[in-house]
Symmetry: C2
Subunit: 303 residues, 2 copies
């Protein structure tokens, strides 16, 4: 098979684009897909100061790598969750990545923020659902650091598979409010910087190929909590269907973006105000993360 | 395992209701589920003259059987499509079913209506997609006969699996107009009688058990055209997900019914008028079935 661009030997075939490419043209294709998402949703410009939330996985590292190569001003933010070997390995990888590229990396250690407790310990003491507690804490520090360090846009590595699976889950459960909010880019608001997902037009497989072609080392360990996540099931179902219906996910997701306004009237019927303890925008008196802190300390006291 | 109602030995376990039942109580449960759908969507009353569209499959025959046992005034309508052994077998089964129950059966033979042509021949000469041509023709005769013979409501055997798969397909493709129209009951309109789907709260598996418990013989042959239908793929995916997420389909479908109004503003921006040839309501000058007739004759003349 020949590269559709330069006619050299192709190294990759992309079924839903019906496109064969050599290594160099695949990398160019990958960066173009990012640029397209950035332009389609006016995510950021070349002058903006970007903060990429990096987990040590291939998605966020491929995003950071791409942005640096594309000439953007992009720093990284890593939240050390303290989930045993998984977090240790993630930290090593992200640190090495940033050092090799002489890129700025901000590190937040959960233990420093929650009186010495790791994420598994917080889950245990608050009796929370791991992925919910983790998501809440990560979102909190993403927002806080972007604001405090005055970045223009906070970026996450959500890809097409993630967004399509999230969409399917929200539709199965008719979470209209989530559907109204699910967007490739969210504008700046009181207490929040602008947020964007530049990888929405790229699949997990395309990102895996990109990281392989660019020798991006990523955390090969999976989070021990993630096995139970329903999102895996939705993702797997979409993968299975995609085998017979090429392009299903991208059509499904793009169709949603075109029709998202249908859900918007259900959006946000509450107002956010600063948390009484930390100032983070919240719909109640005290924000979710401060509640975790309180719960964790109470449980501690009870022992 | 014991029957949840009478404590006798259970013969069936229904995972998404977490319910074990004996044969007699399962049959009562089955009829109650039908009654619940009938009441929830005001489908029909005991005084109404009902017409059940029967294909020879287990869904429509279980529906007809149930309605007769529940004391409703229900006749059958069978469209003989002329699809080789599949249609022959379907016809034998439906005829025997109606004779055994001394129930009224109306038979429409495609060949009598389309100048001697069977469905496969119509598909061939019109170069149509089989399931689309078939669906158009069946809907046409369902509507025409219900109107001509003055039935109050036309009933079809669509079950929960069908409706959930149809819903998923319409969502994947963002067919907003179809989503706006997908309903367990459609009111009477100019040129159409009322239509309803009393099996929406029952799964394929529950219907298979009902037909087994009641010795309902059904067509064991599959339509040779049906293999290519995308709806099978959606149905299979939903089945797979249901294995891990019990009750997924019923929650998904009921959630849709609660939120259907979101799609309604996109509904019907065209008006129907009688077909110039046959009088059937259509959005163009000539209805889809008359167009098939014209096309089939043109192709015939060209030979």
């Amino acid at each position: 098979m020949r590269c559709a661009v330069c006619k050299k030997k192709a190294e990759v075939y992309l079924p839903h684009h019906n496109l064969a490419l050599c290594r160099e043209d695949f990398i160019r294709f990958f960066h173009k897909r990012i640029k397209k998402a950035v332009d389609d949703f006016k995510m950021f410009s070349e002058e903006d100061k970007l903060l990429v939330a990096v987990s040590g996985g291939k998605d966020s590292l491929s995003l950071w790598d791409s942005l640096l190569k594309m000439g953007y001003n992009a720093d990284g933010l890593f939240i050390h969750l303290g989930i045993g070997d998984f977090s240790k390995r993630a930290f090593e990888i992200v640190k090495e990545f940033s050092e090799n590229r002489k890129a700025e990396l901000i590190i937040i250690n959960i233990k420093d923020e929650f009186g010495g407790k790791t994420l598994p310990e917080l889950v245990e003491t608050t009796k929370g659902v791991p992925c919910k507690v983790c998501g809440k804490i990560k979102r909190y520090f993403f927002d806080r650091i972007a604001l405090k360090e005055n970045y223009d846009v906070l970026l996450t590595g959500h890809n097409l598979d993630d967004e399509a699976a999230f969409l399917l889950g929200n539709i199965f459960n008719w979470n209209i409010e989530y559907l109204a909010k699910q967007s490739p880019a969210l504008p700046e608001e009181d207490g929040f910087k602008k947020k964007a997902k530049p990888l929405i037009y790229l699949t997990e497989r395309e990102i895996a190929i990109y990281s392989f072609f660019n020798n991006i080392k990523y955390n090969e360990l999976s989070c021990p909590f993630s096995k139970k996540a329903k999102s895996h099931l939705y993702k797997e179902s979409l993968h299975q269907m995609e085998l017979s219906l090429k392009g299903l996910r991208i059509k499904f997701y793009k169709g949603f973006l075109r029709n998202r306004k249908l859900f918007e009237k259900a959006e946000k019927n509450y107002t956010l105000k600063p948390c009484k303890i930390c100032g983070y925008p919240t719909s109640s008196e005290i924000c979710g993360v401060c509640k975790i802190k309180i719960k964790a300390e109470v449980s501690e006291g009870e022992k």
